[in-house]
């Protein structure tokens, strides 16, 4: 009987062991490493030296500002798949075709997507050629610091909204058609149907898409950034992830990179906790 009492602990032990040894321990090592010096000072304690340097670095400040920009653009990234899923659900002509086309980019690797858009957005590329044919001067889409970040985020949204679309369509599957019928009988316009019936009914789905899209934007834009702009022009498209890679791999500053990683971890933690809170609150309303 005694053995049986220990069985649950023993069964949980492998998972705990793996989490502690392969996740938490390296995480603590990384945090510890961020308080040591690089190069000649390798291993010696420097207190908050790396953090001071980090926050004084205009590049890291740009990276943090860009995180803020991503948060601001998040509603757009959620609204696009939401609206398109709505149209598919409402059976616009050709909806079957669109459903598969919209999902297609989600299966492409970011490197391929980046390469495709590099060609399309090149200064002498097809997009500028089209603009030129209607008399618009060519635009340096990826070479203008005021535009480049929006282009990268736009391409990221294009490449990933297929997944969110599928989640929205799954949400629509749970929607009561009687509500829609009732709204139509009452003479509601499309805008009213979307705003007063679809959005409230899908609130949980929308929140879920918000959470997953935010995580995707903060953690998986590296490949696209690397291929499309390499952090440029003028350092305008840096994100913390790219900054960490650059400091560790190119500048040989692993301790500084660890400090940046720790900051990114804190950002993710705060964003994650806020989102959990949001989900909990909406759960209570249900």
């Amino acid at each position: 009987m005694r053995a049986e009492r220990y069985a649950p602990y023993i069964l949980v032990a492998p998972a705990v062991l793996i989490i502690v040894v392969l996740r938490l321990y390296p995480l603590l090592l990384g945090v510890n490493f961020s308080f040591t010096g690089d190069g000649a000072q390798n291993g010696t304690a420097v207190g908050f030296g790396n953090y001071r340097e980090l926050f004084a670095d205009p590049l890291f400040q740009t990276a943090l500002k860009n995180v803020g920009l991503l948060v601001l653009l998040l509603p757009v990234a959620v609204a696009i798949p939401g609206l398109l899923a709505t149209f598919i659900y409402l059976r616009v002509p050709g909806h079957r075709f669109y459903r598969s086309v919209y999902f297609f980019p989600a299966v492409l690797s970011p490197v391929i997507v980046g390469a495709i858009f590099n060609l399309l957005l090149a200064f002498d590329g097809p997009l500028n050629a089209v603009l030129g044919s209607v008399g618009i001067e060519p635009i340096d889409w990826l070479g203008d610091p005021g535009i480049a970040m929006f282009m990268v985020v736009g391409v990221h949204i294009w490449a990933t909204f297929g997944m969110a679309l599928v989640v929205f369509l799954a949400g629509f599957a749970t929607l009561d058609p009687a509500l829609l019928d009732a709204a139509r009988v009452d003479g509601a316009s499309l805008r009213q149907v979307v705003w007063h019936v679809i959005v409230p009914s899908l609130s949980r789905t929308i929140q879920f898409v918000f959470v997953t899209t935010m995580i995707g934007m903060l953690t998986s834009m590296f490949g696209l950034l690397y291929v499309m702009t390499s952090g440029g022009p003028e350092g305008s498209t840096y994100l913390p992830e790219f900054y960490i890679w650059k400091q560790q791999g190119q500048m040989n500053r692993p301790a500084l990179a660890s400090a940046a990683s720790t900051i990114l971890f804190m950002i993710m933690l705060v964003v994650g906790l806020l989102q959990i809170k949001l989900l909990e609150r909406s759960g209570k309303e249900d």
């Binding site: 492998p14 022009p233 003028e234």
Partner: protein
């Protein structure tokens, strides 16, 4: 119940051992007795096959009992992987480096090779790029330099004499105007990663800085406020303002987009390389040897003499943690032996560090470059730290877009350079 508990325990132990095993494997030293592990980004390429065979054969003569394993890493992740290996104090015994900042930033993890390579000193060129504080940390395999290539066909179209390219900056700017009139761009420029400015700085260095300023720069005494240093950045800005560069330079990758622009005849000049990419053999498909010219940098500051900027390109170094540095150093020597380098030149087209190799079959451009090696000087940008180069890349993009002044650029670069 008892049986279930026993099975649970077996499962736990099994999983834990599997987890530990995989964790410890990744950190295991690759160095062991009788075997040397080499990391590079070349050995996977087809052109390196005969080079490696020659090097291995040479090493076998000295150490028949030592096995050599080459591990080709992807170049874009090479220094990241190497950084992790260095951080853990375990990794390859011998590793490939680019000359300049990449190796100088990591000498703490390397064995000084001076006592082992003394015999090769005279035969090979380009040692300085692998040295720090008077000690040498790698033996050069190729030389890397920044000649200015030009397209003779475009010169003819613009009614310019391909045999006598401009020798002064003012004449060069005038030639560029003629080239623009004939429908081509003057420079193929790729500055997306901010590398274009490095080539520019080094290519025009010898004709903008005085000889004394040049030597002081290489020796680490850089006067960023000097009028001639500022002049280099002014010519860069001027090339942008006068639309001499290919369009969208800040969003064009140097490798291989800008080289493709030059190769396809859309631009008359490119500041290229002499290693195994962005060089005459790369351009050969469209720019046959008779169409391809190599010119000396036009004189910007009166009284200066153009010289070819070059350093050691790539070279092999020995890690501190290797068991027997002498054996590893012997492998480095084999990798830069005359026979091996001959094969590297023949198959990759790179100018090898052994300048005694006969290059007469490779066309006039190669002949010109090799002829310039004797009077050549180390490239200016190679003397700068990775951090300053990175900053210079971003500032050069701002200069092209007009959002910063030359004075501000040299001020920021001076601060970065002094900080280390």
């Amino acid at each position: 119940m008892r049986q279930r508990a026993i099975w649970s325990a077996v499962l736990v132990v099994g999983l834990a051992l599997a987890g530990c095993g995989s964790a410890s494997d990744s950190g295991k030293s690759t160095s062991s007795d009788g075997k040397l592990v080499v990391w590079d980004w070349k050995s996977g390429e087809p052109f390196a096959k005969s080079y490696l065979e020659k090097a291995k054969a040479d090493f076998k003569k000295k150490h028949a009992d030592v096995e050599v394993e080459f591990v080709a890493q992807p170049f874009d992740q090479y220094y990241t992987l190497l950084g992790a290996a260095i951080q853990s104090g375990k990794g390859p015994d011998v590793m490939l480096f680019n000359g300049g900042g990449q190796i100088r930033d990591r000498v703490d993890a390397l064995v000084p090779l001076d006592e082992y390579v003394a015999e090769d000193r005279q035969r090979l060129a380009g040692w300085e790029a692998f040295a720090k504080d008077g000690k040498t940390y790698a033996a050069p395999v190729t030389l890397q330099g920044y000649p200015i290539y030009y397209n003779k066909e475009i010169y003819r179209k613009a009614n310019l004499d391909p045999a006598t390219p401009a020798t002064t900056w003012d004449k060069f700017v005038a030639d560029c105007a003629a080239i623009a009139k004939a429908g081509s761009k003057c420079f193929a420029l790729g500055n997306k990663e901010g590398v274009g400015i490095q080539f520019w700085l080094s290519s025009l260095g010898s004709t903008t800085l005085t000889a004394a300023e040049y030597d002081a720069w290489i020796a680490g005494k850089r006067d960023w406020n000097s009028a001639n240093v500022k002049r280099i950045f002014q010519t860069w800005k001027e090339s942008g303002d006068k639309k001499m560069n290919s369009d969208g330079a800040n969003s064009t990758a140097m490798f291989n987009d800008s080289f493709a622009l030059f190769q396809s005849g859309k631009a008359a000049h490119v500041m290229g390389l002499m290693s195994d990419v962005g060089h005459w053999q790369d351009f050969n498909e469209f720019l046959t040897p008779e169409k391809l010219g190599v010119m000396k940098a036009p004189v910007v500051t009166a009284g200066t003499t153009p010289s070819l900027p070059y350093d050691g390109g790539i070279g092999y170094a020995v890690a501190k943690w290797t068991k027997d540095p002498k054996v590893a150093a012997d492998l480095v020597r084999s990798l830069s032996s005359a026979e091996a380098l001959k094969a590297f030149y023949a198959d990759a087209g790179a100018i090898a560090a052994d300048t005694t190799i006969d290059v007469s079959q490779a066309g006039p451009a190669v002949g010109t470059i090799v002829g310039e090696l004797k009077s050549g000087k180390p490239a200016l940008h190679v003397a700068l730290s990775s951090k300053t180069l990175d900053l210079m890349g971003r500032l050069s993009q701002q200069l092209l877009s007009g959002s910063v002044s030359v004075d501000e650029v040299v001020k920021q670069l001076a601060a970065s350079d002094q900080a280390g």
